[in-house]
Amino acid sequence: MNYFPDEVIEHIFDFIASHKDRNSISLVSKSWHKIERCSRKRVFIGNCYAINPERLIERFPSLRSLTLKGKPHFADFNLVPHEWGGFVHPWIVALAKARVGLEELRLKRMVVSDESLELLSRSFASFKSLVLVSCEGFTTDGLASVAANCRHLCELDLQENEIEDHRGQWLNCFPESSTALTSLNFSCLKGETNLAALERLVARSPNLESLKVNRAVPLDALTRLLSCAPQLVDLGVGSYENEPDQESFVKLMDAIKKCTSLRSLSGFSEVAPLCLTAFYPICQNLTSLNLSYAAEIQGNHLIRFIQFCKRLQRLWILDSIGDKGLEVVASTCKELQELRVFPSDLHDEEDNDTAVTEIGLVAISAGCPKLHSILYFCKQMTNAALITVAKNCPNFIRFRLCILEPNKPDHTTSQSLDEGFGAIVQACKGLRRLSVSGLLTDKVFLYIGMYAEQLEMLSIAFAGDTDKGMLYVLNGCKKMRKLEIRDSPFGNAALLADVDKYRTMRSLWMSSCEVTLGGCKRLARNAPWLNVEIINENENNDLMMERNEEDEREKVDRLYLYRTVVGARKDAPPCVTIL
């Protein structure tokens, strides 16, 4: 029953931003559904193939901001062929045709073409914000169209994309009248940058808060940029291979001193260690520091810098910081909420004393009471350490541990790490994301199914013994949305046990497991509301389908299934078969 006029209800709904909450509101009644959908401005679509653009537009005609995700997560690790799909073009075409007043587009792992960007730039007069994460398929020509045609562009944020750099003059394409930029991130561009154009752009953008430049922006250019933009809050630094001379260094440091609003620092790929010291004047203000590309800066330089960063909330670093360095972080960064420690040596050649171990992890857990998210690559781990970490940090929301060597047991007891991870899921009642590694039996999944009640995303690699493992998870974790498994002995029995479970999940990925073609076919038959995709780069899938029934027992290389309301997609490449 509505005692208020619709406009009042709509106004109340305006205060509700979270997607989950708005989805819940729309289920209350028909009239609330209508008010909600007509007033909805921001829509998040976690899997671009779960729905199509026409239905999106029909339901949400007032759409202003759209977030779309394409390829599954394991595409980040080269497990998904480039041509798999996730094309944004049909979405832009449909939105343009329906004259949606699009202002913001955020894409992750999608294929974007120059044509798409050109169409985007010409179709939405109020377009303000473009954020592309891990996308590919476009060039700097596409960026040039966006720069030239989006008169009200405030944000252009390119993170980790594969962009073909035509070394054109895309920065020159921002019109002189463009002064609204608040955020510009082109750190992933590999080519040369027109420094003069960049400086002019920065100089005429008084609202610029976030600037992340690419490798081609040298020290003296950075100094000039900072002098034009002392109001910056977020800076991504280019690269300086050579030690700067005294004069340039002093100039840089002077410019940095004036950037009293600077809170977030990143970049530093191929940087001479001395350049980091130029940032000492502002390091006590930093809340976010990303040195995960700073492979040239040794541990001791990192430690010297971080010991002044008392306000850090987010730290992304390479394992060259070592356990000693993490102990310094633990004693300095009491506000730390998120830590990511990446591997710096992939080949295990150096007998690396300075890499991180369980000691560093325990130190962090003991020293940083606000820690809630961690991604930790290390060479070894123990159950005792994990149990201690669980006791110290029951507030983890995200816990991702990657022991570099698959199947590595507890190095002090040679046992599996089931108990350690068990302690984590038991203590961390709010855990939403978990990645496990090391030697693990079915038991760890029993624990996960039993205790990880809020778990939404689970990543499994080289773990488990039998189908029971996967079944514990599917039966136990009621809130599971994304399950991704590689190189683990789970097969058809687990896959097929409860088909309806997949209604409550966004997707399931299984690669190098024991599921067979026959099992997948059976699943597809029993669940027509699922797209069951078999990805096989090595063969012609048509041939595969025609072979005799013997081959129902053939193991499937990569399986990706997801719920959808629009049936099988029509844009799948030859290496993908939709059953």
């Binding site: 080269n78 594969e162 080949h347």
Partner: protein
């Protein structure tokens, strides 16, 4: 086929990872899980550990710079129609651009990637399967792993 290592109590006896015989390795696989080898096979793995491409490239670059010596990669380079070839160390280049620039100098003509035309010499390569391919389609690192020799084709005549 990967062979099991002796780390896990769940594997059967380890097999000499340099000389697997097909029947041996399939017996092992049926008894144990498929473990990735931690030998040099892993070195070239593009999907483990699970890090994003940009970090992977950064670390590869670091490794190349840290090692004082390059692992040299000399390949033969022929200009179509010229019987005597040259030899070139591809590990000294970081990208297709630097390679093309160098070849253009070496052969005193303009060498490009891409479609054949009447003006330019187009660069092709023979990959490890023995097939002749157009240079430039695959990422540089992948190219270095598969290239066996180079050939500069003559410009197309009408």
């Amino acid at each position: 086929m990967e062979n099991s290592n002796s780390y896990s109590p769940y594997s059967s006896s380890s097999v000499d990872s340099t000389k697997p015989s097909p029947s041996e390795s399939s017996v092992n696989l049926s008894l144990s899980l498929t473990f990735p080898s931690t030998s040099s096979q892993r070195e070239t793995s593009q999907d483990w550990p699970p890090i994003k491409p940009r970090l992977r490239d950064t670390l590869k670059g670091l490794r190349l710079r840290q090692r004082g010596y390059h692992r040299a990669l000399f390949v033969k380079v022929y200009m179509e129609g010229v019987p005597i070839g040259r030899k070139l160390d591809l590990s000294t280049f970081s990208s297709y651009e630097s390679l093309l620039e160098n070849l253009s100098h070496m052969f005193d003509t303009s060498v490009i990637c891409g479609k054949r035309d009447i003006k330019h010499h187009v660069l092709t390569y023979q990959d490890k399967d023995g097939d002749w391919m157009m240079v430039g389609d695959i990422p540089w690192d992948m190219f270095l792993e598969t290239v066996r020799r180079l050939k500069i084709t003559r410009p197309e005549r009408c």
